[in-house]
Symmetry: C2
Subunit: 761 residues, 2 copies
């Protein structure tokens, strides 16, 4: 076979034609600026089913490869690439999908030669009809992942070998307002799984200078021929193929560039930024089962700090910790009808042990109501046994098929679940509100994230419960709300189903009133999204695993041993004030590297100690939030650090709250509703009350349609895109005054309360 | 149908005949005085497969019902019963197994009438041949559970309705040196599952006095007719049918007897005592999935105290907590051959989510080596990344088919697992020993249980590891050893399998050396078994959820309000000394009830405060361990309690250690080996070393045979009874001097070390 590297001198015909195709009649798709719900996307579903790690993110609709490059900037170090995709038809040789780097040079004649097509070759760009028939894509939406749709297996996929050198390949998941990023190995894995064997070709670059030599030619083949370690398909995908940790990136970016910088800006691509932050700060590692992630010490410690605080608070309320089995029999799980309807589709079932089948399948807990309440029925006999207040910290499993996101939506997650039983509705209600207030405090006092507490509407409440209360948080960049945690009044529903009765003081049999309430590791993700910046994490001091890091400024003239004693004194003085601190005296890293490392990890305060500080008996305090630098006398340092941590905690909350408040608007007329969503606002409106489910649905539909219209898009083709629709977040406890005669924004009926709406995660 | 209650006046022929049958040619079975391994028993297997709660325990071989009653005393309140079983043949009407209370009066003629057998009735006791053929039982071994073996379904089971009034029915699981205890509902459930519909009859009692009237007659039927709530078979068995908690017992034992006393003595029936203690002290509740138990606050708090201590210790060693997914793909799990062989038979597999099948089954972690180490391979690149020391607290699942026991052997359990990687064998070795020493300290310093640390032999080491170290505890009553916790040197085995390489200082690629180590909730069970007494738990102060309980001695002349202030002062003074204490000022219970309640729960110190104490400014301290009572001035009380708690902690350890040391003997000649096992001793012998696996097997076989012989039993029929065999526990680190020329007790080869043997859990 011929080396394709000499194609660089070919005419630009094909490239021009390609752009024309990309531009023509692009499929109308929704456009949003955030993590959308791609759960209905067939490619995302397939990737998830195959547990292939990927990040699928929305972006400005881009009709051509050039537009895409302009609209969705990739890291400047050329380690990631969009793709250009051409779909050819040759009468004699059949169909070809050619996927290259966006800067690849391409000539159809040379392509024919390189592909060793014999006889007459006449590669023509195929029309949209054939594209739709063969790959289920409109023009401008095709990418290598679309090969999945080629049921007839009559298309040859040609891949640019230069793509194989990338850390990530971004291509459209059948829509050109979104891209799916994955590693070359994972792309090859995907193709293998869907029965496609790509042909690898080496394409030269379009605008190559003399110094930009084409790569040594490689023999095209029907199998990948690139570097064995990066292109050899393996099954199952190894963890190594998942997004790389800081160490991995270090390895791959040796040539002088900073090893620690995020590749994505928060405002440019929120989804990729988020992945970058949580991986590089060593919070999360990806895992080879979709929706499951590794919580590394840097995130797990935050969870432990939340646990410690929460345990102290619930103990004051008389709640005791316990542990219930994680398995539940089918009959039990299905005892409460509404409840099981809410959870059944997501339940994971154990059906085998060793090589044998179990007598009956058993479920892994999605929540523990049905596990705990039969025991409640045993334990509770008399009013003297009430209230019963239990909590457990555990893992739960909800096998969702929505696109998973670390912390926010995972198939296994950690949480606490409180379950209580009381003698009266009112007692239970007090418990519900006490638990919810603890959740508010976790967000506001620990994580510095303001939340809005309120009731869920009937439509949004917990399956099987009486009422649900919630705290709702706001994510600045996306303008979306996210449910922080919920506390449910279960009424007597479960009590009746599970026969949880007691004899009251008069000897009469009564059914208990119950509550349940849960807080998950989602808290950590919300905190990252609210506070993180383009340098990495910014941790609120109260949950920072390390609150202050001491870094000796070592140099040739000032070796470590000169500073060690002084630094250790400082360390000791901080520890005495119970500040979580660390002395980074590793000699293998220089101070600059350490600054960047701990900044990325979000440590609130850095204490720099250099030779001059030694002389002046001082140290420099550098604050992660805001960047302030203050020189402090060593005698005052511990106290100054303690005060500064408190100040930072308060200021972080203040800043987040001001921003949230700026995006919280009252709207009394429908015409202002969608425009405010488009401004990334949460919208408070008068409402006719919870009985009219239909009006809630109406707002959802209507806001979706108008959102799409306002962006000039056709609602018809975007049924799956529910994420631009507004839903009710809560009926806030704190209600503005409702003026006389105010009307529900949806129904026009007299309003009974204000309700909060927003786009949501 | 006729009421059977008038059968009481019938002749004693049948009863006498029954005893004769029971006595004749009883099946030879093993005899032990402890929880044995009944995993091979078909009835136990069936009960476990059906997840029907039961306790199966060994006892002295008992040939007749009378012998059984004498040998295995049941609670004196007549709430539990053994059974008498007669197997009849009638030429015309077929086969009948009649199961009654041991004191039932029975006349075959009346039986025929009650069963409405028409025409000529001639019920004759069947011979052993038929018993073996139809029920697979030797004489004296039959019970209602044996009906499972009646494949031809040609036997009518007749059940005594009086049995249905019991809390527990004890019957033989096809061997008359053991009994299986379960509730009537669970017995009916079992019968239903094996396709047997019993006929219920009311039998009168043999030795009825005039005041002991027969119960009102009930119409026999082919379905249970007893109290609906207790005899109606339900599926699945409800938690209510599991052993009852204290509250349940309270309800069932209203008639004046103490509600709090254990029904079993530790020395009489260790297995039933153990169940009694952990249920009545509110540590454990049973659950409807076999091998899964509820850890109630009273046991979970002990686990939290162990966790708190352990977290502090490992932090000092540089170990960080983290959390890894609980699911693992098949390929990963099976990567290390020896490892998977060790675990595969016990692995639980998730194969479905919602209504759909997963693309590939995923395993629930039995341990996390294969989950963590691919991530280790990602994170570790350079010697600078070593050592890596992680720990996680999690639940794990091992779907064992051995008879489960709460805490000791459960299908889901809680543990910590530490996993570390090092640059050298020696570094890893230091970690292994540091972790093991923490385990020793958990047992000895927190749980007051002496342990023997040492190496496991090759035969007993961790699947896939290099060497395993262990701490071995001793259970007094049973004379058995139990593995306390293990710490493994994994060598480079997993490192090679999972490509965990690093560049050393010279730039050369090396494979890491690894360790893993785990401590489980088994700790709690061992502690209960070692320290508990006939009153209930005895908790070592350092792990007692409540270390001191203050009880005001309220009476008519001294109402609570007189004592409240004084008690609260005492409470405050104890809290200031960081003593975990509680003021039990509930007015609904009297002081006597409270004394019994907290004694049963094992609280180390009770502080009684009565009117006289108020006058003398003192209080009475009553110590659970030993029962000492001391009056102390209120000013000195907090300090006295603190000191006493330390003293109790030390004395509990001292007592347990003395007892253990008394049962730890050196044996140098084989002839003394089994006799020492029979004396409940652990045996230390000279040994030729670990290379000769065959000799270890030889000792196991030989000790089993000789044990059975020494009890006059035939080894042939007791193949399943491995539990009287001795196995190696460890090669203790602390080695006695090995005299010149000493020979291995098994092989006769020159000894290289001392090894510890024992019967084991």
């Amino acid at each position: 076979m011929e080396d394709m590297s000499d194609l660089k001198s070919a005419t630009a015909d094909a490239a021009a034609a390609a752009d024309a195709v990309d531009a023509a009649d692009a499929a109308v798709m929704i456009n949003d600026d955030d993590l959308l719900d791609f759960s209905a996307n067939p490619i995302v579903q397939k990737l998830n089913a195959l547990t292939i790690p990927h990040v699928t993110y929305p972006h400005t609709l881009s009709m051509t490869a050039d537009e895409l490059v302009a609209n969705v900037p990739l890291p400047s170090d050329n380690t990631e690439s969009h793709t250009k995709n051409l779909f050819f038809k040759d009468k004699k040789h059949g169909l070809f999908l050619v996927t290259t780097c966006t800067d690849a040079d391409l000539d159809t004649k040379e392509l024919g030669k390189a592909l060793k097509l014999d006889g007459k070759v006449n590669l023509r760009l195929a029309d949209e009809e054939l594209l739709l028939e063969k790959l289920a894509c409109k023009k401008g939406c095709v990418g290598p992942l679309s090969m999945m749709n080629n049921a007839d297996k009559d298309i040859t996929l040609v891949l640019d070998e230069n793509l194989m050198k990338m850390n990530k390949i971004h291509s459209h998941p059948m829509r050109n307002d979104a891209s799916t990023a994955l590693t070359p190995t994972d792309l090859l894995q995907f193709l293998k799984e869907v029965g496609v064997t790509p042909t690898m070709l080496s394409f030269s670059k379009k605008s190559s200078s003399s110094s930009d030599q084409p790569l040594p030619g490689k023999v095209p083949s029907s199998r990948p021929t690139g570097d064995k370690s990066s292109t050899k398909p393996t099954f199952p995908p190894k963890a190594k193929d998942a997004p790389k940790s800081a160490n991995m990136n270090k390895k791959q970016t040796k040539k002088g560039e900073t090893q620690l910088a995020l590749k994505w800006k928060k405002s440019e691509n929120f989804a990729m930024w988020y992945t970058d932050v949580i991986v590089l700060s060593e919070m999360i590692s990806y895992y080879d089962i979709s929706g499951c992630y590794i919580l590394r010490p840097w995130s797990y410690k935050i969870w432990e700090l939340i646990q410690d605080w929460f345990n102290i608070q619930i103990r004051k309320l008389g709640v005791e910790n316990s542990y219930f089995p994680m398995f539940v029999s089918k009959d039990r799980l299905e005892k409460e009808k509404d409840h099981v309807e809410g959870f059944a589709p997501e339940v994971a079932w154990v059906t085998k042990s060793g090589d044998g089948d179990l007598a009956a399948p058993i479920a892994v807990r999605p929540t523990s109501e049905t596990i705990m309440y039969p025991a409640f029925a045993d334990w509770i006999r008399s009013h003297r046994d009430l209230p019963l207040k239990l909590n457990q910290w555990s893992n739960v499993v909800r096998w969702e098929f929505k696109d998973p996101t670390p912390f926010l939506r995972t198939r296994e997650f950690l949480w606490q679940e409180g379950h209580t039983a009381h003698a009266s509705f009112e007692d239970a209600n007090v418990m519900v509100r006490q638990a919810l207030d603890l959740y508010r405090r976790v967000y506001e006092e620990l994580l510095a994230v303001p939340v809005i507490p309120g009731y869920k509407t009937e439509k949004e409440k917990f399956a099987g419960g009486h009422t649900t209360t919630t705290v709702e948080a706001y994510i600045p960049i996306s303008g979306r709300a996210i449910q922080g945690a919920t506390s449910h009044h279960l009424g007597q529903n479960f009590g009746k189903m599970f026969d949880i009765n007691y004899q009251d003081e008069k000897g009469e049999t009564q059914v208990v009133w119950q509550t349940s309430w849960g807080l998950t590791t989602r808290t950590i993700g919300v905190m990252v999204m609210v506070h993180g910046d383009d340098t990495g994490l910014v941790l609120p001091p109260r949950v920072a695993p390390v609150q202050a890091v001491i870094i000796p400024i070592v140099s040739k003239t000032c070796p470590l041993e000169n500073l060690t004693g002084y630094c250790e004194e400082i360390l000791k003085s901080l520890e005495e004030k119970e500040i979580r601190c660390k002395l980074d005296d590793r000699s293998i890293y220089n101070p600059g590297w350490k600054y960047a490392h701990w900044e990325q990890k979000g440590v609130p305060i850095r204490i720099e100690v250099g030779p001059r500080d030694l002389e002046t008996k001082s140290a420099r305090m550098v604050v992660r939030f805001g960047g302030e630098k203050i020189d402090v006398s060593v005698d005052d340092l511990a106290e100054a650090v303690g005060k500064k941590l408190e100040e930072v905690q308060n200021n972080m909350f203040k800043k987040a709250k001001e921003f949230r408040d700026d995006h919280l608007v009252k709207v009394t007329e429908w015409k202002d509703f969608v425009p405010n969503l488009e401004l990334h606002n949460l919208v408070l409106t008068p409402w006719c009350g919870g009985e009219h489910d239909t009006w809630e649905e109406w707002v959802k539909e209507k806001s979706r349609e108008e959102s799409l219209q306002s962006r000039g898009e056709d609602g018809e083709d975007a049924r799956a895109a529910t994420s631009v629709a507004a839903k009710t977040l809560c009926i806030p406890f704190s209600q503005p005054e409702l003026a006389e005669g105010m009307k529900c924004i949806a129904s026009g009926l007299p309003a009974t309360c204000w309700v909060l709406w927003g786009r949501s995660y």
